[in-house]
Amino acid sequence: MNHAQFLRLLRAIFDTREDEIVCSEFFELLPKYVDLVLATADASRSQPDQPADILPQVAHHILQCSECADAYEALLEIERSSR
């Protein structure tokens, strides 16, 4: 483990919340979240509802679970390039 990885662990420890979701719940919500991210990117910057505001537990899980973060990045990339 290097310094960057240990720093990520420290961040994850201190950012632990009571209402976190598990990976299966994340996967259920991920398609909706990615569609929201892409819709928000297409819309005006002044749009008030950001995906992280609408689905905060999804946004937080991305920060806490590296494998789910990889899935989010991959799905976002695939959807962005296929539209």
Partner: protein, 214 residues
């Protein structure tokens, strides 16, 4: 049944066609997923011409189609249907890539232990090195004394040695969610223990943050 080009299909079109077992629909979804996974692999610097990776993408597509067939009625219609299918495909592909990377890891990296020290690319200033060593030693100690053996095994394997969650779940005869929950419980315990010893997030991040490098 002849359908318009699949790029024009709505969620309902997909559901009706797949439930009706339309060859056109299943072929369309298969080709779409395979195209997406190949493009993703190319974008990640991997060459789909590599027979191993091409087979991996094909296997991930087969897994995806099976899962879509089984779970079609669970689609919640709160996203594009194709995003939902791609999410299943991403899980299948990344799961196989992680398994492959784990199988190909170098034997000397295989360990169940917490490292004695952190890998250091650049040596920090002496006084900061002392603070880093102290915090690392404290966290290491807390992992040993505060966590249950189950939590410690999972945290160390996944966080310190990047063992895939699905592989851990299979080895422990449990679910991925249960493995993740063990890591969550470990984080909660470690946070409480650090706070009880007066360690703040600001202090921890300062010691190991960007300012820690000379």
């Amino acid at each position: 049944m002849t359908l318009p080009p699949e790029s024009e299909w709505s969620n309902l079109d997909w559901l009706i066609a797949l439930r009706a077992n339309s060859d056109q629909a299943w072929t369309a979804i298969r080709e779409r997923v395979l195209r997406s996974l190949r493009a993703y692999l190319r974008g990640r610097g991997r060459t789909p011409a590599d027979e191993d990776l091409e087979a991996l993408a094909e296997d991930a597509v087969q897994d995806t189609l099976l899962t879509v067939r089984v779970k079609l009625d669970t689609f919640r219609n709160d996203s594009r249907f194709t995003t939902w299918v791609h999410r299943i495909a991403v899980n299948a592909l990344l799961g196989r890539l992680r398994q492959r990377r784990w199988n190909l890891r170098s034997p000397e990296t295989v360990s169940d232990a917490i490292p004695d020290s952190l890998d250091e690319e650049r040596v920090p200033a002496p006084e900061r090195a002392v603070l880093q060593r102290e915090l690392w030693t404290l966290v290491r100690r807390l992992i040993e004394v505060e966590l249950t053996p189950h939590q410690r095994t999972i945290l160390v394997a996944h966080v310190f040695h990047q063992k895939p969650l699905d592989l851990l779940a299979a080895e422990l005869g449990t679910s991925r969610d249960a493995v993740y929950k063990a890591i969550y419980d470990a984080r909660r315990k470690l946070r409480a223990a650090l706070v009880a010893r007066g360690v703040t997030v600001a202090e921890a991040l300062e010691v190991f943050g960007k300012g820690s490098r000379p």
